[in-house]
Amino acid sequence: MLSVLRGGRVIDPANGRDETADLCFADGRIVAGGGADVAYDITGCVVLAGGIDIHSHIAGNNVNTARLLLPELRGRDGFGPAPIAREIGRLYAAMGFTTVVEPAISPGLAVQAHLELAAIPYIDKAMLCVLGNEDYLLHLLAAGEGEAAVPDYAARMLAGSRAIGIKLINPGAAAAFKANVRRYGLDDEVPRYGTSSRRIIRALQRAVDALGIPHSVHLHCSNLGMPGNVETALATIAAAEGDRLHLAHLQFYAYGTEGPRGFSSAAPGLAEAINANRNVTADVGQVMFGQTVTISSDVLRQFNARGMAHPRKSAIMEGVGNGGGIVPYHYRRTNFFNVVQFAAGLELFLLIADPWRVFFTTDHPNGAPFTAYPDLLALLMDRDLRARWLADLPEAALAVTTLASITREYDWGEIATMTRAAPARLLGLPDRGHLAPGARADIAVYRPQADRAAMFRNAAMVFKDGVLIMRDGVAGAESAGRVLAVRPTYDAAIDRRLGSFFNETYGVPHTAFDVPAADRFETVPCRT
């Protein structure tokens, strides 16, 4: 069946298009024009490819523990900062997002994470597997086997956990914490192994390149949330030595020590460093005000943050590799630190010049639940709206930021790049994020209106694989969605070595954690 969207403004920066045109699709793919069996008149509307979120905690044992820990945060709307699987799918689809990446699953917990992803309807999903703190990897690095064995190990973990890429979360810190280390930076060494965070990052960067994994190493740096941690972020960018690197939720590393409270936004300098280092990409991890829950596999940071919990409770879970911690938190408009965080995030969005290298996230739900996206998009596109928000925030906090002086507004092309074209390129998904013939017919249609947040909250129409799944926020037929994963090749000798390490150390076979094959998986090709 051939469908056509007639009279919309098609914005497709990957193909250099911004024009009023008809858009045709059939059998789940965009096709060149022609007659149509079904026509939709969308005159006056904006047509984008389906949105792609590269970093949103939507599944896994940590997210699920947050649900069990915080039933009181469900709220009257039935979902809180950690919505249940079916609501995640519905809410993302309503906003016009059609692909979402869960960014932090330990390989040993991948079976559960994939069951949760499978339970999220409408959208396609993928996950990153967390490496960097496993004793086996640290053994390899300590033994000087970084070059040879680490790529095989990384490939084996990606294959077993059916992930699309590799996440490093404060690499080395969780292992050091098990040895009672309480502060851990880029060049601190893990006791027993003598391996630093810097060495772990470099080894995995080389592994990703050797394996041809499309997505660069997706890094959560050390010293998250601490005053003055911009120095860590800058040192980490330098440590990449020109190799490609993705920095997650950059806002949480954009802090200086200026001002009366010794806490200030260092976002301008950090944005400058991103602008100057074309090998580096970053997503922002914007803070928005309200109650949320922080969900992180940076177990050291979460352990140290327990005192800030609101409500006052937390769950810290250690395990092989990273573990994780759940600490509820309330960002307040009246809190100096929270306002600086809010401003620093917007400064990064507005001061990083290239929308191909800055990604739209709130690190859901760590900076804010993804349901805050419509408000955030509106703030980026409208400096008058920003000015109205700033007028209600404490001046003392804004004084240690430059936000009030920034006049940039995102245009539609930049929004489409940041939320569609760039994520598809970053993840290696050539048939997503754009609208040329051959692309998946994942399409979001927005009806421009004075209230941009309302426009983004409920797209006028959303198509997934050419099927109309949402219309003005009302769901159509429920579909299951696929799960995207890479399948890099590796030397099978690593299985033998891992098998004997797991047997001796953990008393279980390493294959016990493998995710079984299923029809929902789609392979993302590696570069050759």
């Binding site: 599944a59 044992n61 699920n64 523990t65 649900r67 069990l68 820990l69 915080l70 039933p71 469900r74 039935g78 979902f79 919505p83 249940i84 699987a85 079916r86 040993g108 917990l109 079976v111 559960q112 069951l115 949760e116 339970a119 004793d135 914490f177 098990k178 040895a179 009672n180 352990f303 327990r306 919990a309 409770k313 937390s314 769950a315 810290i316 879970m317 250690e318 395990g319 092989v320 573990g323 001796e504 150390t505 953990y506 008393g507 279980v508 016990a512 954690f513 493998d514 995710v515 079984p516």
Partner: protein
């Protein structure tokens, strides 16, 4: 059961459950796919779902929810713990191979120079793993007091009574490099769990320590996880008013049946040949493992395959401390899976 007979049974089950006003989905001893199907069914017909082992699981969850905790996994404990504190009785019942699984007889493989020291606190009559344990005798009901004494001793506060060995135990815990406290919620009271979590917190002030809760019976951990991602709540949740509501007292399956509030039961026991514990007669649909004997025959009885035996399924694996795929050890298509039967019932429900 032949296909035609199965279809007939499914049709009768749909009539019975579809006509109920307050159905209870009980036992719920099944794999994750079975649990997801059962919860979808509860949502569809406005039923309650509960699990046979939820009393202890929910009491433990309440400790986490109210006080928080620091825990680890069994394989990490095996690999790293140089001090292990076994708290209370019931460890064998929770995980028969726990001593082997946790490698208690040998040094921790990641810290091979450490001499792993294993302590038991108030084990009651439970047999002691040979030769590797120092025990402070006592019964489970003494645990909160004993843990209080231990925490006071650790904090250097005066204590009301001298218990032989408690000072030495406190010193050993404090000297641990990475200690682990193990318990089974099925065997100790919530106050004791909270005290253990408090003890772990105290010890984390100066060294590293973590709790290790052993899992409950009949895949309650797997079912609880599935319930959380399907509806946000653990078992003992009702869809009776359209949206899920959780209440450990109100939605206790046994209470609902005994009080007469429930008018139909969907009994699911695919893992063991368990039958309903109550005496009251209610219209019942039973999906049960081969060989289940019922005091009174259910209105509809469908024998289902055992996950991990007759068919593959995902279950909580005590040894891994995680959900894991369990391949069929004796694969057979002769018996349907719980999720397939429930899918059939849902498809046959009156609109």
């Amino acid at each position: 059961m032949a296909e035609a007979a199965l279809d007939q049974a499914i049709a009768r089950a749909a009539t019975l459950l579809g006509g109920s006003r307050c159905a209870v989905i009980a036992c719920l001893g099944t794999d994750v796919a079975g649990a997801e199907a059962a919860i979808a069914m509860a949502r569809r017909i406005g039923a309650v779902f509960d699990h046979a082992a939820s009393a202890a699981a929910l009491a433990e969850l309440a400790v986490m929810r109210e006080a928080g905790w620091v825990v680890t996994s069994p394989i990490e404990a095996r690999a790293r713990a140089d001090v292990v504190l076994l708290v209370g009785a019931g460890l064998v019942a929770a995980w028969p191979e726990y001593a082997v699984g946790l490698g208690l007889a040998g040094p921790p493989p990641l810290v091979p120079e450490a001499n792993r020291r294993v302590f038991r606190l108030c084990p009651g009559e439970e047999p002691v793993p040979a030769g590797i344990v120092e025990t402070i005798a006592g019964y489970a009901e003494q645990l909160p007091v004993m843990l209080g004494l231990l925490r006071a001793t650790l904090a250097g506060r005066p204590v009301a009574r001298a218990v032989p060995g408690i000072t030495a135990l406190a010193e050993a815990l404090r000297a641990a490099r990475y200690g682990v406290a193990v318990w089974s919620a099925a065997a100790i009271e919530p106050l004791a769990i909270e005290m253990v979590c408090g003890l772990v917190d105290d010890l984390n002030g100066t060294t590293r320590f973590a709790g290790l809760p052993l899992p409950g019976a009949d895949n309650v951990n797997g079912v609880t996880q599935a319930a959380a991602w399907c509806c946000g709540f653990p078992p003992r949740t009702s869809f009776g008013r359209g949206v899920p509501e959780h209440d450990p007292w109100r939605f206790d399956a046994t209470r609902l049946v005994e009080s007469g509030e429930a008018d139909a039961v969907l009994w699911i026991s695919a893992l063991t040949a368990a039958s309903p514990p109550w005496t009251r007669r209610l219209p019942t649909v039973a999906l049960s493992a081969p060989g289940t004997a019922f005091a009174t025959p259910p209105e509809v009885a469908i024998t289902v395959g055992r996950p991990g035996h007759d068919h593959a399924g995902v279950l909580h694996a005590p040894r891994l401390g995680a959900l894991a795929a369990h391949p069929a050890v004796a694969a057979s298509d002769a018996l349907p899976t719980v999720d397939r039967v429930i899918g059939g019932i849902m498809a046959a429900l009156p609109c």
